[in-house]
Every structure is written in C-alpha cells, then in structure tokens.
Symmetry: C2
Subunit: 727 residues, 2 copies
Amino acid sequence: MNAPVRKTTRLLMLLILMLAPLPDLLAEDGYRMWLRYVKVASQEKLSDYRDQIRYVVAEGDSPTLLAARDELERGLSGLLDRTPPFRDSVAASGGVLIGTPESSDGIASLDFEGRLRQIGDEGYLIEEREVDGETLLVIAANEEIGVLYGVFHLLRLIQTEQPLHGIEVLSAPRVELRMANHWDNLNRLVERGYAGLSLWEWGTLPEYRHPRYTDYARFSASIGINGVAINNVNADPRILTDSFLERVQVLADIFRPYGLSIFLSVNFDSPRRIGGLDSADPLDEEVRAWWKEQADNIYSYIPDFGGFLVKADSEGQPGPHGYNRTHADGANMLAEALEPHGGIVVWRAFVYNPEQSDRFREAYDEFVPLDGQFAENAILQVKNGPIDFQPREPFSPLFGALEETSTMMEFQVTQEYFGFNLHLAYQGTLFEEVLQSDTYARGEGATVGRVLAGEIFEYEMTGMAGVINPGTDRNWTGHPFVQSSWYAFGRLAWDYTLTAEEIAEEWIRMTFTNDETFVRPIRELMMESREAGVNYRSPLGLTHLYAQGHHYGPAPWWNGGSRPDWNPYYYHKADEAGIGFDRTATGSNAVEQYHPEVAEIFADPDRIPDDYLLWFHRVGWDHPMQSGRTLWDELVHKYSEGVEAVRRMQQTWNSMEGVIDQERFEHVKALLEIQERDAVRWRDTCLAYFQSFSGMPYPEGYEEPEHDLEHYMMLWRTTYVPDPWYN
Amino acid sequence: MNAPVRKTTRLLMLLILMLAPLPDLLAEDGYRMWLRYVKVASQEKLSDYRDQIRYVVAEGDSPTLLAARDELERGLSGLLDRTPPFRDSVAASGGVLIGTPESSDGIASLDFEGRLRQIGDEGYLIEEREVDGETLLVIAANEEIGVLYGVFHLLRLIQTEQPLHGIEVLSAPRVELRMANHWDNLNRLVERGYAGLSLWEWGTLPEYRHPRYTDYARFSASIGINGVAINNVNADPRILTDSFLERVQVLADIFRPYGLSIFLSVNFDSPRRIGGLDSADPLDEEVRAWWKEQADNIYSYIPDFGGFLVKADSEGQPGPHGYNRTHADGANMLAEALEPHGGIVVWRAFVYNPEQSDRFREAYDEFVPLDGQFAENAILQVKNGPIDFQPREPFSPLFGALEETSTMMEFQVTQEYFGFNLHLAYQGTLFEEVLQSDTYARGEGATVGRVLAGEIFEYEMTGMAGVINPGTDRNWTGHPFVQSSWYAFGRLAWDYTLTAEEIAEEWIRMTFTNDETFVRPIRELMMESREAGVNYRSPLGLTHLYAQGHHYGPAPWWNGGSRPDWNPYYYHKADEAGIGFDRTATGSNAVEQYHPEVAEIFADPDRIPDDYLLWFHRVGWDHPMQSGRTLWDELVHKYSEGVEAVRRMQQTWNSMEGVIDQERFEHVKALLEIQERDAVRWRDTCLAYFQSFSGMPYPEGYEEPEHDLEHYMMLWRTTYVPDPWYN
C-alpha cells in the first residue's frame, strides 16, 4: 500500500471508530416525534432522492424563510445523509427551489397559471418543473408561511418514501384557525396532561429561551397548527399582568416565524381579581374600558396576538350570567376590545349547570337562541360531543344548528377519558367519525367537517381546536402513541377529508419505520385501538362511568358527588328494570336538537346503531340488539371484546421486537401490559356492577369476573391515580 | 489517483458527511452530568491513555461486575474514542485488569501486601504493576462494589486528564452510609425540588423500567452513594402497601448492582392510617407487631432493603410524643422490627415546637438526654445547623454532644434557601465549612467530619445524608450547577478531608472541559458563589428572612405566620435599638450547648466572627465590627458585596462564550441574569427594611435602593414563585 492510501485508511479507521458510540447517543427516546429524519432505508429511493435534491435555492432572509431553510437543511441532512448546499440561483437539474413570488426571482419567473390564487395565504404548491431548462422541485406559495408548510410536506414525502417524480401538489387548509389548546396552569401543573409539567418554564422566562420552545413550534408548523392557547381555560387572572406578558412575549417571538400565534385563556372575573374593579359586568363601561386597556397592553408586547380563549359560566368559572347577561354579551365585550388589533374571541360552548334536567341539552339550549348575536370576530368553540370527550359520543347537535355564528370544533388529544399516558388509543378514528357525521343541516351531506369548513353556512371564521397534552416528558406526550393523535388532529384540521387510516400510516412511517412488516400491523392496531377503549369502558352508548374527578378507573356505583351530573349513575341509571338515559320524547327529548333525519334514527330504538343505544334509550336487560343478542349478553360481549382487542394489540406489538428500536419497543410493551390489566379491571368491574341489576348469567364462553363487586369497589378506591394535578 | 485511493476517498467523504449532523445530535443538554465521557482533548494524553489501555480483563459475570464492565466500555469508548476489547486473560502490557481475589484469578495471583485488608468492603486500590511480566493497570477490591467504585475512579482520572503512570491509589469511604434523601411525594411533586417531577414514575411502575433509573444508579455509584431514601420524609403511609412495594422492588432490582440500597420514609402514624389499628403507640404490642409484619413484608420484596427514614414529631408529623413516649421509644420500635433483617432506622433530629423559647436549642435539648438509649441499629440524622439549611449556620451543637448515639449528617443539596433552580450556589464550600468546624469534643481537633467518621466517639454506625433534588428536568437538577453540589456531597461523604476547591475543579473538568481558560475562572466563580448568596440574603448571622412557606424572596417584615418560629421577625428581632437574637446567658443561652472552647468564642461579641454575630448577639446599629465599620455600614457593605459578587460571576461566565457548548452557556447566562436581578431585590428589600429601624444613612459609594420599602413589599407579594409543589 502506498503512503497516501495508508494515511487515508488510517483516517478512515479513525472515523469508523468515531462513529462507534453513535447508536448509543442516538437514543430513540421519542423527543423527535414525527420529525425524526433518519436516513432513507431503501437504497434505491435514497439515490433517487439524492439525484433529485443536489442543491437548494432559497432566496430571502426573513425569519420564516430562514426557518424553512433550517428545516430543509436539518431534514435533508438526516434523510439523505448529506447536506445539499444552498445556492443563489438555479444552476442545474436536481435542485429544490423554494419561495414566494415576492421573495424569489426564480419563483416570480414561473407561471403558475392562477394556481397560487387558489391557495390563499397559507397554501402551497409543490411541482416538478422546468426552470431555465433545468428540472427542479419547486415549492411556491403566496406567503412565506406557505413555503414553510410546503417544506414540511416535501420532507414528509421523503420520510414516508413517496416518489417525487412528476409531483404535483396543491394544498391549502380547509379551516382558517387550527389551534392547540394547552390546559397548563401557571404553577406548571397541567390539567389532564399526564406528560410532565408544562412546557412553559415561567420561572426562567423571559431570560431563558429553552430550546424546546423552538422544537414545539416546529412540530406545530409541521402539521399546520397556526394558533396556540398556552394556558388553562380554567384561567389564572395573573396571565394578563405585565410580569407574565413579558414572558409570553418571548414565546410569541419564538413562535412567530413558524406561523404560530399566541392566544391567552382569560378569566372572566379578571377586572375584579386583578383590575381593582368591583364588577366584571360586560355591559359596564368601566369593565369594557378595562378590557380595552388589557388588549392594548397585550398588543404592545405581541403585535400579532391571536386573541382570547374563554371558559365562562362553566364548572364554577365566572361569566356573564353572574350579571344576568348572555354569553353573547360576554363574548362581544372581549371582541370589541380585540377588534381594533385584529384579535378574536374563542368562546367555549362547554357550559352546563346542575339544575338542568339533562346536561346533554344544555349547550344547544343556551347558544341556539343567541345565534346571530355574536360579534364578527367571535367564534364559538364546541366540543365534539354533547357531554365531555367521552370515548364515544354522538356529535354535538350544535354542529349544523348555528347558521349565523362562526362555530369551531374542540377535540381532545390528551387522554383524559382514555387511560391517561398508560393506554394506547389513537384518536384519529374518533375525529374522523365526528367529522364525517352528517348533520343534515340544509339537507344530506352536511357533514360536521363541511359545517366547520364553512361550506354549509357562511361563517366569518372557521376553525378547529385540539386540547393537546405535551409536557416536559422527554417524548412530549407520555404515551408514545398520544403523539399520533396530536399528529392526526393537526392533519385533519388542515384537511378534514383525510382518513384516519392514511394519517396513521403517515405517522407510523415518520415516527418509526417504513418497514412494511411494521407499518401494516401497527396501522391495524391503531385503527382498532379507540374502539377497544370504548368497549372495555363504556360500550353501547354507556358513558362517564368514571370515579368523580380523576377519570381513570371505573366507579359506576358512585352517586355521592357534589352535583348529580358528576356521577356515573346520572348517565347510566341502571336498576333491575333496565339501563340507559331516555332522551326521546318520553324523556329529556334531547334528540329533538338534531335535524329530523338524524333525530328520527336516534329516536328509534330499532334503527339507532347499537353504539349509541344507551345514549338515547332506556331499555330492559333483555332488549334485543342488532346482533340478535340480548342487551345483557351484548354488554358482556362488548366488554370482553374490548379486553380481547387489547390482547391482540399486545400480541401484535410484542411480535415487533427487533423491527424497531428497543427503547420505544420496551416502553410500549410495558404500557400495553398495564392497559391489559386495566381493561380486565374495567370489564370485570362494570360487568359485576351491572349484573347486580340484570341478575342475568354470563353467556357461555366469556371470561367471568374473578372477584365479587365489593372487591372491585375496593380495588378502585385504593388504585393509584397517576396524575400530579389531580393529587 | 489510483482506483483504491479514489474508492477510499469516496468512502471517507461519505463518512465525513455522516458525521455532519453529529454535533446537533450530541446536544449538551446536561443529561450526562459529570459522566460525559467526551474524547480526551489533549492529543498527547489521549495517545498515552490509549497506549496504557489497549484491552481489559474483567473476569466474572455478577451484575455488579457487569455494571463495572459496561461502565468501562461506555467510558473508554467515549474518552479514548475507541473501545478496548475485553479479553479473558492478561496477554500483553497496556491492559486494565479489574476484579476481586474471588472473581478473578489474575487479581488472586497478585500480592497486595495486606493493603486489601485496609479498605473494607467498599474500598479499592488502583495500581500500575507487573502481572506475568506485563505492565497493567489493576483495579482490585475485596467486594465487587469496590471494583465498580474503582472503575469510576479510573474514569474520573482520565476525564480530568490525570497521568496514570505509576499510579497508586488506595481508597475507602470514611463513613459507612452515604445516603441520598429524596423529598418526593407519591403524586410525583417534589418538596423543595425545582427540577421537574419525581424521577420515580409510579404510574408506569412496576411494568416499565425507565432508562433513567439505571442512569440514576450510575451517577450515584460514581460518587460513592450507597443508600437512597426515595420518598419524602413528610411521608405518605401508602408507600408501605403492596401496591407500592411491588413498584419499589423494581427500583431496588435496578439499583442493586450499583451498590445502592433503598430506604423508605415512613409515617409514624401508619398503623392507624393504613393498618386499621387505633394507636401508633411505640410501646403497644399490637403496634410493634404491626411494624414487624411490615418489615417482614418489605424484605420479602427487597431482601437487601436498607431501612426506614423517619421524621417524627416535627412540623406536624405524628410521632411518639403523641403517646407520651420519647424519640428513643419510637426509633427503637422500628429498629426492633428491622433488626432481624439487618435493616436500620435513620431517625431525624430536626424537631422543634412553637412553645420553645428558642428553636435553636430544641434538637439538643430533646436528644442529648436520650443519649445512649437508642438501639444499635438506629442512627440519628442531624441537619448541619441548628435551624434549617440556611445559607450560613453555625454547626449544630449536637455534633460532638452525643457520645453513645450514632450520629449522621443531613446536608441539603437542593436549593431551598438558595434561589431554587435559578441561582448559582456551589454548596461544596458550605459542606466543607461545617465538616471542618471544630466541636472540641474531647479536646481540640474534633472536627464535625471526624465526629461523623466515628473518630471521636465509637459509633456503631456512621453516615452522611444529602437532600438532593433531581427530577425529570432533562439535566436532572434544573440549574446546571446544582449538579456540582450533588457531586460535592457524594465526594465528601466518601472522604470528608477533600476540599471544596479540588472537588469543584474535578466537577468542572468532567462536566465541561479541561480547558484551563475555563477551569480556573469557573472554579473561582464557584468558590465565591455560596458566600455571594449569604451576603445578598442574610449576612452577619442574619437568618431566615424568607416569606413564609415559599422560601424564595425576602419578607423580613413578615410576622403573621401561624407560629412565631416561621416568621422572619422571630430570627432578626430588628427594632430601633438594634438587631439580632441573644443566645448568650442573658438570652436563650443556646450557646451553652457547645463545648466550652466554642461557647466562649460564640458568647463574646468581640471575639465571635462577624459571620455569626447576629446568630448569637443582639447589638446596636452602631456596634463596631471587625472591619472597623458600624454594624449598619457593614450590613450595607455585605449586601452590596453579594450583588457585586453576582455581577463578577456574570462577567466571568459571559466571557466564556465559545469555550464551551452554546447550549449550556446560554442557559447559565440567562440564569445569572435572573440571579443578578434577584440579588439586587434582596439587597434593596432588606436594606430598605432594616434602615426603617436603624434610621442611618447609606455610607458613601454604595448603590442605594431605587424604591421605598412599600415598593419592595408589594414586589415580593406579586412575584411569581416557580415551584409547582408550593403553588
């Protein structure tokens, strides 16, 4: 061997040695979520991508364009295992050109035949096309944020190993406001969070800019989220003080390049609590002036502040009712304060009081009479179902009922009712089920999704919110699969016509691997996971069987809460004669709140799908179900099916050892063990309880509870509730 | 260029590209603390180490030996940037041979001339010597845990770039029990923690073994910690239930190979709270039997369980006084239950009640009369000072007073009174100050350290405990420099004769860099950091000027607490006539609790060091200090000096940009900004308050408070307290 070879070889050996510790350092702890950017595994595709992306042209140096460049650099250097250089202009085929007509001469020189006009401020197009005779991948948008979204789209295509040849993508969001809601208290405990403390480290802000703030913005932008309410809707008035606004300002500055605008949850009583006023009456001039001052002050810190999120007259929160005013009065006062600055009010419709005979009815009864009375810059945020994020609810009758009030969705990503950070329950299927439900507003085909997108009524504003749970847990969400629901929420907020299944597949490929031996079975596992959760908790239209407050284990017997609608008994009303809540004309008649085509089906015990039966009907234990079984037998069947589904999930997962990294494999494996244990406990607890009324035997071939009811009542009384916020 | 060269070069280029993202992945987020194991920077030393460590011989496959092998592999592959192979036997010079005479034939064949007999079960020796004619580095110990400790020692030498040629180390711990105390509640909030939630994820245990549990054990073993009380001394009785013991067992299993045994803090009232008894009287036979059952049960899960840590009759905790029994009665009941299993009771001496005229006196008055009454397997855990982990206290007079009661130290690493996770305050100097204090028990030279080591009285057991704060924060401790106090505690528990300065230097080199431009100034910064904290909070023997409860900001005016000794006024007693607590014969006479040589000095206002003056004396505002200044002027001087010291720290730190990683640089820089702001507020608040009594002008040349006292009183009332546990 001659000298230069020997020297090169030694250098090579040295480099190989330097690489040795790499696997250890690259611990798959979940921090990178769906933006892992690991090298493309298929050699063929890798070399294809490398050929198509030899360099990047990204003119402009605004913060958003720099964020887009940074992300491209980070993503490509991981995925392609090489960092394509940034060049000033188009030089050869095999490059990526990104920008807006304003920022980039290259983009300006192209004729998009009006396509840019179709995609608004946030949309983008991605095309392979000739530029100066060279074949390039072009990401173009009207505004820079569209460019960033397009960059994430391109990276997603590579992450999921899609071909880029002849690509033609035109994408724009179907709703305007795509918003994350954090239920983070200022003491950093997160209500219903289960993933550590709040991301926002108030003690070190504004001085310290924790690196995770930027990563949070990256993840948000990667799925098109453009708004974030950073604090709990059970709001601490201190958030409006300068001391906190100085801190919030830093977050806003970090989020801005990523198109993410900040909203604050405000306490309706703030004028009294921190303003020194003796009223919070929304028609009081002093109160109105106070809120204007607050708005002015906030905008002096954050010129592009999004607005307020408000929970009023709900679960003990103050609101306009305290002054005999309506929700519209309350919302409009805040809207008026924000309006000069372009801010909006997101007003929650989650209201109920213990006097009402049926909590189901309340939001509708409260808000439909106010339709048309809300300011143009106010939007009503309605939970997907009439009660509260239960494993399955019929869609809220407010969707399709408000013709003149902008109405947005509130989904819950955090698993308040789905086993916290311990159970696997992909919520994409729940979101899809709701978005595809037909409200029949103005006739057939008026799905909830279309209502939200303003396709049925002409809303001033459109939006979707997701109550997400990220916290200081290294993997952001506690259970690694809660990431998938966060991802699905963002993707569906962008485009409600996507399916839960395609989103699941995307997520799996980005988060774990493109290995088909993993993708297909885990996609199936995810697709059945939410139904499993429904079945082992509250099948057939049962709901809210949780012990008061903590929402983890079952306590169907509990009837001693401080208000009836916080008790499971209120919802199931089981006795020897039967079970279920009569919401037909013979009962609370909540069913009348739906459009006739829906109401008719829900009102008919023979036509209503089994899944919703006990939501609307009180029936005997021997009521014949669509399967031909009696209600009791079907209940046993469904609860058992829930447990069996979890066992199938376990089996599937456990067969994946070695296909993915050991770290996440072990984590999910352990969590599925916990889930199986809990599912059995739910099943046995609920069946032992309901059997004490039905008095009917277990049908053949099903596992029976090992213990008597008393055992399960004691078990859940002493079970550890893993929630610092609750404890 | 010929073909092989070209090919090699291409491969080389590829490898270089693969390396590109490395710096990003290797984010210096502090997780690895002082076990970073980055490549030795000095080329000369690196090649020396590589020559000396070409392979490793480590016979045996017990869990502890495997842990030692793993650590060597991890450490060397990082430090030397190559992984020396493990071989079965000595083959050539330039190897490391580790083991015990029992596990290793190589070790057994060597003659250590009795040196192994000197180092007990946990000690080790490291020597360069000839084995079968080859020169090797030998790590030998009597027990395997000694081998592991020796491995950490060897790695530390390389981390700090010490020469290994001719090395001869003989090391054994000077106290037996070196214990971490966690004040972690079962809901995972950490009392006085400030670094996220509890490390122990009770919700996913016992199924999920979080990788950080092993890392925690590694860090502990690396500094010789051999016991850990995992739960808060304000103890939740549920820790004794099977449901929790199943979880604790998993931690014990993970910790065992690292020589770390588990202790539980128990609630004295457990027999009543969870045992169904109606008494917790330590002389009640049923109660005694109940505790024996609990001990038997615990040992069925954890055969090497360490024992109980008990806070009784203190700050509202139940204890033997409720049954008119003594602390010895209480401790001995638990000792009796643990004794058959080899467990011990660590009984805290931190007791005081509001009736006592001087809280300072209480622990001594309570425990000295009980000297000799404690069981052999009980040990008294005494806080370093008579009050409560204040920035500076005189050493507790209990050290040196208990001739027949095993007595151990309780230090606090977590910064309850030192600015939480926001201020930099290396506690090594505080620990050293206490350990080097001369008690004069049985004459001169009876330092606290020697008392603890059993060198003055013949204690059955010896020990030191540190209340540490690690939590789920990525860097374990919140402020990166709290790591240094944790490290110092462990090192001093192993060997109280080490100096704070040499420990600081070790820690800096391991945690940041061996670059001298960093090491020297940052060591100086650390060495003055605790004194700075004393000065801007409570100089000259002032103490406990905190607002009740949160212990973050000053509230020297506060006098409305639920008991007098929770009020700052109780401690400073400032009025127009003067300031300070008279603990001489004309006052509470607490000074009599010290041996005469100490008492004489403390009792004399002219001989007592200024640092302790107001601890023992009430003096006028114009009292002449050793500097020649009046007390008032000296107070202004000291408070100002505290602020100036922080500013010097800032200046020093900010000059280090580029010398270390940007991530930790920015973090500490931001925290020092916060600390400077807080230091100014402390100074101005306290001086404005004390001036309202002294009525004296600020001496020339000092910054005066910008605002009046009222401003500061309001400021601290509305200041955010960054502590989820407190909020």
